[in-house]
């Protein structure tokens, strides 16, 4: 079985190694890709159908019934923003569908505040070989496919 994982944001897809954070760049919590977001206020959408199991203003995890969990992190070190500039549209535990908006943010504002707005999208605890068809070095719209996760 293969799980299609969609992009939470519009932007340019890059390798995780481009992320200026060791934990993500070295895929310590799982493989994936990163999206360099379009610098404009936008909705961030769920990459898959599932349940919002972890929710912070700057990051969230959606897991499906099969145990596949995707982490989306909006910018690097953005926990320090303490929620400023992030408007949540769901609550923890809520069922969401792929493409459903989770939070609204402005990558330009995050960047102006001194943070890298790049968004790692991580298949938690997956092996690197489980991911295929990574949409690297292409421009995507929100909800366009980022990769397939074979389960």
């Amino acid at each position: 079985m293969s799980l299609r994982v969609g992009s939470p944001v519009a932007g340019r897809v890059v390798a995780l190694s481009a992320v200026p954070d060791q934990v993500f760049a070295e895929a310590m919590v799982g493989p994936g890709v990163a999206v360099e977001p379009v610098r404009a206020k936008a909705d961030v959408v769920s990459p898959l159908d599932g349940t919002v199991v972890t929710l912070h203003p700057h990051a969230f995890v959606v897991a499906n019934g099969d145990g596949a969990a995707i982490l989306v992190h909006l910018g690097i070190d953005t926990v320090k923003r303490k929620g400023e500039g992030f408007e949540l549209h769901v609550v923890k535990g809520e069922q969401v569908q792929a493409g459903q908006r989770i939070v609204t943010w402005d990558p330009a504002e995050v960047e102006a505040a001194g943070f890298a707005p790049i968004c790692p999208v991580i298949a938690l605890d997956a092996s690197a070989e489980a991911l295929a068809d990574l949409a690297l070095d292409v421009d995507v719209a929100a909800n366009d496919a980022l990769f397939d996760w074979s389960r």
């Binding site: 060791q22 934990v23 919590v29 982490l71 938690l124």
Partner: protein, 78 residues
Amino acid sequence: MADEKAQKILAALGGRDNIVEIEPCITRLRCELEDGSVVDEKALKALGAHGVMRSGNVVQVVVGPEADTIASDIEDLL
């Protein structure tokens, strides 16, 4: 047991007296410590940490998505 894990992580970080602040950030525990040099990296990895990053007395323990739960379990022990 979750509490036992929290207790062991706390011990590997040098015990409660060594903790200035622990802040969970979705996949990691950001720990501000009195003395970063006493951290038992091997023990943390044996407890399931994916990685340990040190920068002086600030030590980040990468524990995966259960970071929030672990941090609140540790807070209960402080």
